[in-house]
Symmetry: C2
Subunit: 349 residues, 2 copies
């Protein structure tokens, strides 16, 4: 067990800031806010209607008990809330609470709320303290850590945003019990990605646990440690962090080409990881003595086959009918991680 | 004379970056882009219709001649373009040009374009290189230097924004010849403010020159040096930079309460500086031996009278009919520089 305490699970350090990740009960939030240097006063809580129904009272009650005056802003659940229009509504609602430059923004929810609330914190009054309170597997193991915030535009995901580090991340694994199964599986895709990239305890746990949903708290904590270590090594994707895009160039394109909301992010990433594993195996075969360059492989050799089997436990969906190769290539061409030299795929060797 | 050369007028250094300010001809822009580490490729030029008619061809031609593929995005002139709606349109137009993370955004125009284009650069693809190309006195001596970007909301000015330093500032004094007189006077208000705060060459020039409009290039260069020195000392308004808000707490409130567009920013700041000088004199009188606290003064003593005479040369307008004290206080209460301890006024002693 990981007792509720002032000792964080891990501390993240990157160019935009240094912050602790705690995996304590949500009701302990005020303790960790004080510890992060945030003194009670006004606070803004950005969340969505689904999460609000389950967890908002717990957080608001805890904040009020410690002397905070929290003001909640509730958006509709789903990717559509990562729009400039909803951002404008949230900004107006936040301003109506009379924030000053010391007022923290708490993003209570999944990846969408974390990206939206994070971008609000990055830009309201030119920057307010941000507290990430992730409530999904995806947000706890991945999106709440590393300082990325963003909105979608008609042309693609996260095309507007900012790097803005939280002051502290409060990830209570107990809240994951309320998640629907598809949401859990989607988040586990990122945990599997972390395991494939980092190996170690997390990969062993993923291999050993027959039912991941019964070991969520452990998987989450081990995956948080991997993510924190990678972004601490490199915040801006020039080096180590680029590996976190494993499965994502194809995954993002698939998510976009299928129409946002058709596949979850994790489902698209799972399909993307399988594609990346095949690409990795092809490139490895191309490097073998006597092989031609980049030849395709039909049967995956080890270690790629074992990795692929792990990804397969996520039950990745088929590519939806109507998603053409051309649409995928067009979507990838807009990937913001593209630079003048072309697209980048992360492969394993 | 200040010859066109690789030697900048001054180099600004603050937390968000380090960049040169050049006061060379606009057509020399490509030289300074290279020097700032920006290699020819795609470029985004954000400007407004008024500036586009006068100066866009010069910049686009110079860029193309050096191997750039510039894409111009032209907004309507005026404060209304600093809105979230126009921001969204500009983002879409920029994305249609297929930028990657190395694509610079050049903000060619006055304060509105600098703030809007700067916020686009700060947030598009989570941050692109920014080049400020200020074309008004206000933008050259003040808003293009220091890394502030922002949009207005219905609740006030610059309530959404980011600190995002330019890679280089290209301020050609020759373009100021095309400005209407009211625009020049508005910008000179910030130069007068810099002079009152810093003294030195700039204050001497302002005192000695009988017709400021005939000495614009010199005043601009001396004011740029003051602004650069202040923001280099302190980027985030906690210390030295806070003095740049002289006249601005009242000025911003007046601008807002009168309805944006009624007074220029410089006109409102000029009125605000006179108010701040009276407040300064009252506080100074309150500190005199035997005086009561903060007593009002009817006749300004020196040095405040001399300062007030300098501000008076800007011909500050009267406070418009219908702007009530209550409206001004309400607008000041939303000032984003307010903190939990209350409003802050900058006074001189």
């Amino acid at each position: 067990m990981h007792p509720s305490s002032l000792v964080p699970l891990i501390t993240v350090t990157h160019a935009a800031g240094r912050y602790a990740v705690h995996t304590d009960p949500l009701a302990d939030a005020p303790t960790h806010l004080r510890e992060a240097g945030l003194a009670p006063g006004r606070a803004l809580v950005v969340t969505d209607a689904t999460v609000a129904a389950l967890h908002l009272d717990t957080l608001m009650t805890a904040l009020r008990a410690d002397g905070w005056q929290p003001h909640a802003v509730v958006v509709a659940p789903g990717e559509a809330s990562k729009s400039l229009a909803v951002f404008g509504d949230v900004v107006d609602a936040c301003l109506s609470a009379g924030p000053d430059r010391g007022t923290p923004v708490l993003a209570l929810g999944g990846g969408v709320v974390g990206d939206l609330g994070g971008f609000v914190a990055a830009t309201l009054l030119r920057g307010l303290p941000l507290v990430q309170v992730p409530t999904t597997v995806l947000a706890q193991v991945d999106s709440s850590i590393g300082g990325k915030t963003g909105l979608n535009t008609a042309r693609g995901k996260n095309l507007v945003g900012a790097f803005w580090a939280p002051r502290v991340v409060l990830a209570d694994p107990a809240v994951l019990a309320t998640l629907p199964e598809r949401e859990v599986r989607s988040g586990l895709a990122e945990a599997v990605k972390h395991g494939l990239l980092a190996g170690g305890d997390l990969l062993a746990t993923l291999h050993d646990e027959p039912a991941w949903e019964n070991a969520l708290a452990r998987i989450v904590r081990e995956a948080v440690v991997v993510k924190a270590a990678v972004v601490s090594a490199d915040e801006r994707e020039s080096g180590a962090r680029a590996f976190l895009n494993f499965g994502h160039t194809f995954g993002h394109a698939l998510e976009s080409a299928a129409g946002y909301g058709t596949l979850t992010h994790g489902e698209a990433v799972a399909v993307g990881m399988r594609a990346a594993l095949h690409l990795s195996a092809s490139l490895a075969a191309g490097r073998a003595p006597g092989a031609g360059p980049g030849q395709a492989v039909n049967v995956l050799p080890e270690p790629f086959a074992g990795m692929d089997a792990l990804v397969a436990r996520l039950a990745p969906p088929a590519i939806p009918d109507g998603v053409t190769d051309d649409a995928l290539v067009a979507a990838m061409t807009l990937d913001k991680k593209r630079d003048a030299s072309g697209l980048r795929f992360v492969v394993l060797d």
